[in-house]
Amino acid sequence: MKEINILSPCGMLGYGFPIESFERAFQEHQVDGIVVDAGSTDAGPHKLGANVSIVSRMALKKDLVNMIQKGLHYKIPVIIGSAGGAGAKTHVEHTIEVIKEILEEMNVHAKIGVIWADFTQQEIITAVEEERIVSLSPNIPPLTVEAIRKTNTIVAQMGHEPILEALERNCDIIICGRSYDPSPFAALGIYHGMDGGLSYHLGKILECGALCAMPGTTKDCILGTLKADSFTIQALNPIRTCTPTSVAAHTFYEKEHPFILHGPGFTLNLENCTFTDIGNGVVEVKNSQFIKDDVYRIKLEGASKVAYRTFVLAGIRDPLLIAQLDEVEQEVLHQVQTYFSEINPADYQVNFYHYGRNGVLGEQEPELFTGHEIGLMFEVLAQSQEIANAICANVRSTYLHYGYKNRKSSAGNLAFPFAPSDVEFGPVYEFSIYHLMEIQNSPFQLDVMEV
């Protein structure tokens, strides 16, 4: 059986990669496809909610130029998973536009397959009514029609099936909307008749670029090779190497369980996998098991706008103030509420963060505070930017001049690093949909265009 070499240039399209690593893949191997993941929910709900990208247009184009050039030259597919970050319509369109620009500049033509992953509110409401939706984990509340109506952008993670269709239609470049991260890699393997379990497990490792190597990074290339009953993985940069432990450990990176991985319509069981060093920094993996689920479910993601934010950064060095920080802030809040008596305190929220004390862990911080300086950040969240700005300015001025008990520093309590001190942040989003939806037929639509 033929071996299939899949090149993953980097962990995120637009993160960049050393061109030498990329070239080495073609010098030393017969590459069957270039696949790159472009998406993540790691940066929070803002990308999906505000329809913006994770990487800059310039960085996106820089990476794509190299990939498209090689892909067209060797007549191998270039597949982009979760285009534009969140993989919604705007993100996909943005990616199409950049690719068209590249093709035009190169003065070449290509067949582009675009797979959309967007859903309308009504489609999800119908699914709720038909009881086809469940929460992904126990701490996610059941999905309500009200929550759906507040959610502007809704996508779902596609499996390999629609990507397979694009490959069967001989697309040179495939742009996927939101996809399960390993799916674009797995699709290429499955297209070539490889085992689903091995293809998906390899995809799970390749989607982060060279993060599975030592030293690990998302900004370098990695090569995966699918064989009849195993796959191998190797770094393409001589400064990195893969070890059985680095690859095994990466298998469970960012997942909730080390060896049971849930994907669209299937479960991957990696409990009996073996990871073997077969020399020259090549690690061989066997026994990745693909188990088709009885019910086909896809993961929905939706973000909605919940508030507007204004925030302030300041330092506090006065030990007398640090010693009574909590009491002071309570009093500051009280004065602000009294001043804005016409605004219901339930309509806005003021949060104080104390870096140096418990800025990261909050109430869960186990260490006792012993420092001499506090990095203070406070934010105001309100239903409009105007209210957030107004309240934040009032919190700031009240805090700055508040005459706490035994104060000696009557000129001011806060050291602002910036002028102006108040930063208007704009809308704040939250993941309002993060649920599994049962489907019968693939809802992901493929458009093929000759450009």
């Binding site: 790691d42 709900p45 984990s137 095994a248 909730e256 080390p258 990871f275 990261v360 862990l361 186990p366």
Partner: protein, 101 residues
């Protein structure tokens, strides 16, 4: 000995926006087995270190092939929502470091 002295990797990361997953990885079987058999890294110890209920721990699994322990806990506030302090969940591992093993 503290856990951070024995482990090669001690990290935290989001596993989706509603969970944080903690990975404890060792670079040799001996250290891994030592910790696994010490009875010090348990669901109860994690609940105590993070001041959370046992039901907030969604997974607690030893993965022998990777010499690793994986613990997945519920986020009180989902990633990037108002009040969240760690969007990537990347600095939530610290309470594990001082567990005596």
């Amino acid at each position: 000995m503290k856990l951070y002295e024995k482990a090669k990797i001690l990290r935290s990361k989001n596993s989706g926006p509603f969970e944080v997953t903690l990975d404890i990885l060792f670079d040799n079987q001996l250290d891994y087995e030592d910790v696994k058999n010490s009875g010090k890294v348990t669901k109860e110890a994690i609940a105590k270190a993070y001041n959370i209920a046992l039901t907030d721990i969604h997974h607690f699994v030893f993965f022998d092939q990777a010499y690793g322990i994986k613990i997945t806990i519920a986020r009180k506030i989902s990633s990037g929502s108002p009040g969240d302090r760690d969007v990537y969940g990347a600095q939530q591992h610290a309470p594990l470091m001082n567990i005596d093993v």
